[in-house]
């Protein structure tokens, strides 16, 4: 086949597929969100935003992201630098640390349910230590703080690995000579980290943060498993509109709102961590 047409033939299937199942659905969801049957309208958005659960679920989603993402970033950076220096057992440690990468959010929620539920391991441990006489029902409306903590811990447990993998790969690309030169000039390990690792890791940090923040706004199954209706989040409300209230237009409007927030934060992260042109390794 002619080499001029071959690349187009090769990319045609993906392009067609993504047009049909990625771009076209976006047109559909927008159409659905801006119409209630007759013509253009903002009614769906007005309904959704004025619903009493909307401010709470918005606040919860943002709060959760604000609590979880910085911890994950710090943890992933720590793990990545630790692994980088490791001589023995690196493969084993990396395998263990990346296990959560393959675990679904629903499974992660169930795993942490085993710890926090009324007859769970946290209660058993506290009972064993003599701190409590009877098991406490942590995941109830009397303990909103614990519900939040359980969800945040499950999210941190599950999704730190994805940042870790990106950062470990990124650190691997930084030339060793920079560190050797810094050592010659007597830079402390902390200086080397802040002056070499962090700036050169910027493209990886960018990707890791974008990916992670978008996933944070999509949080759904962890919350469903641990908090249920106690902790409404945007994605859960979208699901409720579609299934419990059978209101497709409102669900579409919610989808667009989540989308807008995701895009907004993506742009902010890209801007904050932008890589100067020609400054890549």
């Amino acid at each position: 086949m002619n080499a001029r047409f071959l690349p187009y033939v090769l990319i045609a299937p993906v392009t067609l597929f993504l047009c049909l199942f990625f771009l076209y659905p976006f047109v559909l969801v927008a159409k659905q969100a801006f119409s209630t049957g007759a013509g253009f309208t903002m009614d769906n958005f007005r309904d959704v935003v004025s619903y009493w659960k909307f401010p709470i679920s918005m606040k919860n989603t943002l709060l959760l992201a604000a609590a979880v993402v910085p911890v994950q970033l710090a943890l992933a950076l720590l793990m990545a630098t630790m692994v980088n220096k490791m001589k023995r057992g690196r493969d084993l440690v990396l395998y263990v640390w990346t296990i959560p990468l393959g675990i679904s959010d629903l499974a992660a929620g169930i795993i942490w349910l085993a710890i926090f539920e009324q007859s769970g391991f946290l209660n058993s441990m506290m009972h064993g230590l003599g701190l409590i006489d009877r098991p406490v029902n942590f995941l109830s409306y009397q303990h909103p703080g614990v519900v939040f903590l359980a969800i945040a811990l499950a999210e941190i447990w599950r999704a730190t690995a994805i940042m870790l993998v990106i950062l470990v790969a990124g650190i691997g690309l930084i030339p060793k000579e920079y560190y050797e030169a810094a050592e010659v000039f007597g830079a402390s390990p902390w200086k080397r980290f802040t002056r070499i690792t962090l700036p050169l890791l910027r493209p990886s940090l960018q990707t890791a943060l974008v990916l992670r923040v978008i996933l944070a706004f999509e949080v759904f199954a962890v919350v469903a498993a641990l908090g249920g209706t106690l902790f409404p989040v945007l994605m859960g409300e979208t699901y409720a509109y579609q299934f419990d209230l059978l209101n497709g237009g409102a669900a579409a409007a919610m989808a667009l709102i989540i989308l807008a927030i995701s895009i907004g934060f993506t742009l902010i992260i890209l801007r904050l961590l932008r890589v100067p042109k020609g400054a890549t390794i």
Partner: protein, 277 residues
């Protein structure tokens, strides 16, 4: 003077101890919750619901037997495997050619194409299931395993393209050119030279696609009603199902993940490192 010389190895040893302790602690952070799930799964339903909990499993298969006997659970498991299998095959068949094209050719519109692929990563894709639910009803794909596999392929195919792109880029063009001069056509050079080298990497990215589909909850819950996948089934029954059923279900969800991550561990970092540039 002597104080200084004895202090230096001391602090170094202390530093090493802290470092080792931190590694062990972080490993425990990952493994202990998994171990708790393991205890609950391998305990009888009565023990799972009792208090206080034992900290060693009693190796009773009661919970798992209950899981297997629960109405609809086994067919949900079968659906999950089917959807993930289809997603795996489709995303590689559709994605790998594009990855090859990106690594080997310079063509007009390459940047636009790359942007389209990267764009998919900046969107919460499971939300696409909402409009697709309507579209699928019109085309008769609603509540089918194949329809869900199409949506999961949308999730997995950008990864397949980027991963195969980085894998193909790792194989020098010269190898193919040498094969051409020795009488191979473009196709035979690909099947005889490139494919054997790339096959383990392709397998790894196929497994990755399988895991993406296996774990997906939202789209699965939106698009299936009768033919629930395991994740959708568990989600739907969260309010009503007893604890031991949840834990056994969670365990069944986790096991393939453990095996798959182990199988692809060599490729994990190479795939992500370059796929994210």
């Amino acid at each position: 003077m002597t104080a200084v010389t004895t202090q230096a190895p001391d602090t170094r040893r202390a530093g090493r101890t802290v470092y080792a302790a931190a590694v062990v602690l972080l490993c425990a952070w990952v493994l202990v919750p998994l171990y708790f799930l393991f205890i609950n799964t391998l305990s009888s339903p009565d023990t799972v619901n009792s208090f206080p909990k034992p900290f060693v499993p009693e190796f009773d298969t009661g919970s798992l037997a209950f899981f297997a006997g629960f109405a609809g659970m086994l067919s949900a498991l079968k659906n999950s495997i089917l959807v993930a299998g289809m997603t795996m095959v489709m995303s590689i068949l559709i994605g790998a050619p594009a990855g090859y094209a990106l690594s080997r050719f310079d063509f007009r519109g390459k940047e636009v194409f790359r942007l389209l692929i990267l764009l998919t990563r900046a969107f919460p894709l499971p939300l696409l299931a909402l409009p697709l639910a309507v579209m699928f009803i019109r085309t008769g794909l609603d509540d089918t395993v194949f329809g869900l596999a199409l949506v999961h392929t949308t999730l997995a195919v950008p990864f397949a393209v980027l991963i195969t792109f980085s894998l193909f880029s790792g194989i020098p063009m010269e190898l193919e050119e040498a094969a051409w001069t020795l009488g191979c056509t473009r196709l035979t050079a690909f099947t005889k030279v490139v494919l054997p080298l790339i096959l383990p990497g392709i397998t790894a990215s196929a497994i990755f696609a399988f895991v993406i589909s296996w774990n997906e909850v939202f789209a699965a819950a939106v698009l299936t009603i009768e033919n629930r996948t395991l994740t959708a089934f568990l989600l739907q029954n969260l309010d009503t199902s007893p604890l031991h059923l949840k834990f056994a279900g969670g365990f069944i969800l986790v096991v393939p993940a453990l095996i798959f991550i182990f199988a692809v561990r060599k490729y994990l970092f190479a795939m992500w490192g370059i796929a994210n540039r």
